[in-house]
Structures are given as structure tokens and as C-alpha cells.
């Protein structure tokens, strides 16, 4: 049985839940700094989308530069770029400012590119071995990379965003 329908549905659902959970959160909600070591919503949303941009281009597109390092470098709506992978993003997360409308335009472009790639992929492409960006991780089929790394990443952080909205007295998930 083909794996592509599973991959296609899972990435689409994760994008939908993330985007409807963020919805039109006002700036003060996005930038609210929670107590403890949790991160503000703006930083989580920036991290998850720039992470998807990076994973898609570097891993699935064979080492291409992510959009936020190229044509979108000055248009993402972020006050500064994300920290490099492997570097702590605690301080960055607390400094970052986000123009939500601009960032969502970038986010939708990234998500659209990933969905278009999966829609066009055949089973051979889904079975192609790719090397994750995380040091020490062995190569995995593209389908596994998308479902286990990219989708988990989106879902985990959507859950955090939902809780951070709830802590501010707002509804998180749309359901």
C-alpha cells in the first residue's frame, strides 16, 4: 500500500492545526514572556516555520538554502533570524519581535511548497533516503523524515502555542 496518502494528509493536517491555533493572535499575546523557561508564542511560531523551511530545503531539496536566508531574508517579519541549529535559543526567544501578518505570508509560502512537493512525489521519492539535519541521525526514507521529524516538530510546538494561549486566558486549538 502506498505511503504517500498518509504523508500528504499528515503534513496538511499539521499545517491546518498550527495555523488555526495561531489564528490572529494579537502582538501582546505573541510576545508575552511566560514564567520559568518556556518560550513566547512568537518565538515558537518562528522556530517551527523557519525549521520547516530549513528542513525542507536542506534535507529534502538536497542542501538548498532556506527561504529565510535568501529571497525572504528581509521579508519574514522577524526582528532577527533564528539561531543556528544546535545553539540555545533561550535569549533569542525573549528578544524576538514578530510582525504576524508578514510572517504568516512567509509561513504559508513554506507550507505550500512542502505540500506541493509531497503532492508531486511518487512512491520512489517517498522511499528516497535522506540524511536528517540533526548530527548523528542515520539516513531515513523521505516519508519517515516528513512524518516523524517535520510533522512531530510542528505538532509539538502547536501544542505549546495552544497552552501559552490558554495561560493567557485564550482558546488555543480551534477544536
Amino acid at each position: 500500500m502506498e505511503v504517500k496518502p498518509i504523508v500528504e494528509a499528515l503534513i496538511k493536517r499539521n499545517h491546518e492545526v498550527l495555523e488555526t491555533t495561531i489564528a490572529d493572535s494579537p502582538a501582546e499575546v505573541l510576545h508575552w514572556v511566560p514564567p520559568g523557561i518556556a518560550h513566547p508564542i512568537a518565538a515558537l511560531y518562528a522556530h517551527v516555520v523557519t525549521g520547516e523551511d530549513m528542513m525542507f530545503h536542506k534535507v529534502l531539496m538536497n542542501g538548498q538554502s532556506p527561504l529565510y536566508e535568501g529571497e525572504w531574508a528581509t521579508k519574514t517579519g522577524l526582528s532577527e533570524n533564528r539561531e543556528k541549529p544546535g545553539v540555545s535559543w533561550d535569549q533569542w526567544a525573549r528578544r524576538l519581535r514578530m510582525d504576524l501578518a508578514a510572517f504568516r505570508e512567509y509561513a504559508h509560502l513554506v507550507q505550500g511548497k512542502v505540500e506541493a512537493y509531497v503532492a508531486a512525489a511518487d512512491e520512489a521519492e517517498m522511499a528516497r533516503m535522506v540524511t536528517p539535519h540533526i548530527p548523528g541521525r542515520p539516513p531515513v526514507p523521505a516519508a519517515v523524515f516528513i512524518t516523524n521529524i517535520m510533522c512531530n516538530h510542528i505538532a509539538n510546538h502547536a501544542g505549546e502555542i495552544s497552552t501559552l494561549k490558554g495561560l493567557q486566558g485564550l482558546k488555543g486549538y480551534p477544536f
Binding site: V3, P5, L10, G36, T163
Partner: protein, 173 residues
């Protein structure tokens, strides 16, 4: 690689990350009531594992939940989860979780889910279920990936944030 292999990988990782995130959660951490509308970790964890039991053993397999059978009274919840959604918020703030017992129940639920998927043939994964769900009916494979595994990942993120609020490391990575 086929659908079954992919589903097993998705489920196993989801379960592993959830349990890794639960490491270091004591009764005190689990019961901490956050401000606003967010739910305590204890109620969130119980919701995840009870929902998986209900979705897989109840809805998909139709064999009845572990909670109604061999795990009745042993799932680590001080009171049953209400079926009436309007009573859910109140339950989340009242329920007390025995962390060790709840995680043992969770492990039993994960084992039954993974064993079911491992034994499922293509016809079973293609069977339509969840007629009453948004987007339903859908094949078992889609239901397991989009509803069962995804709800684990979402709520794991919530638990990680709630640990972070209390000054604790969330995810295990």
C-alpha cells in the same frame, strides 16, 4: 516501506517523546494548576492515554477499552473522565493522578495500539472508520496517523510548555 511500517514509526516516536517528556514529572508537578484556561499536566496526560485507548480499542477495534476491562480502577485517575464535555474543565482541575500507575496504564495502551497496527493487513488499514468525526469516515491508516498519533504529539507539546512554566526541562531532546 509500506503504510504499516510508516504508521508504526509515527506511533512509536510519538509515544517515546511523550514518555520522555513525562520524565521528572512528580505528583506536585502534575497537579500544578496553571493560570488561565490551560489544564494541569496530570489531566492532560490522562486525557492522552484514555483518548488513545478509547479511539483505538473502542472506536477502531470495537473490543472495548482497557479502562473498562483489565485496567478498570488501576489507571491512576482519582475519578473517571466525564463523557459530558461541559464537565471536562472541572474534571481537569479536580482529578488527581498517580503518576506511576497512570504511566503503567499508558504503556499498556501504547502496546495494544502498536500490536494492533503491527498485525493489521492492508484491508484492515483501508477499512473506513470514524463516520462521526470531522473529515470522516476515513481509512484506519489515516485515522491512526491524523487523529491518534497527532493528538499525542499536540498534547506532548502542552506538557512540555507546562513543565517549562514550572522551570523544568520539557522535551527529552
Amino acid at each position: 516501506m509500506d503504510q504499516r511500517d510508516l504508521l508504526l514509526g509515527v506511533l512509536k516516536l510519538s509515544h517515546d517523546v511523550l514518555e520522555g517528556t513525562m520524565e521528572g514529572v512528580t505528583s506536585q508537578v502534575a497537579q500544578w494548576a496553571p493560570p488561565g484556561l490551560a489544564h494541569p499536566i496530570g489531566a492532560t496526560y490522562l486525557h492522552i492515554v484514555m483518548a488513545e485507548d478509547s479511539l483505538v480499542n473502542g472506536l477502531v477495534r470495537g473490543i472495548g477499552t482497557l479502562l473498562e476491562g483489565s485496567w478498570a480502577g488501576r489507571a491512576g485517575a482519582s475519578e473517571p473522565r466525564p463523557m459530558d464535555s461541559s464537565a471536562y474543565d472541572g474534571w481537569t482541575r479536580r482529578v488527581q493522578m498517580d503518576v506511576v500507575a497512570a504511566r503503567a496504564y499508558g504503556a499498556a495502551v501504547y502496546a495494544t495500539t502498536e500490536a494492533y497496527v503491527r498485525a493489521a493487513d492492508p484491508a484492515e488499514l483501508d477499512r473506513l472508520v470514524a463516520e462521526g468525526f470531522p473529515g470522516g469516515p476515513m481509512p484506519v491508516a489515516a485515522f491512526v496517523a491524523n487523529i491518534v498519533a497527532t493528538q499525542v504529539c499536540h498534547h506532548t507539546g502542552e506538557i512540555s510548555a507546562l513543565k517549562g512554566e514550572q522551570g523544568l526541562k520539557g522535551y527529552p531532546f
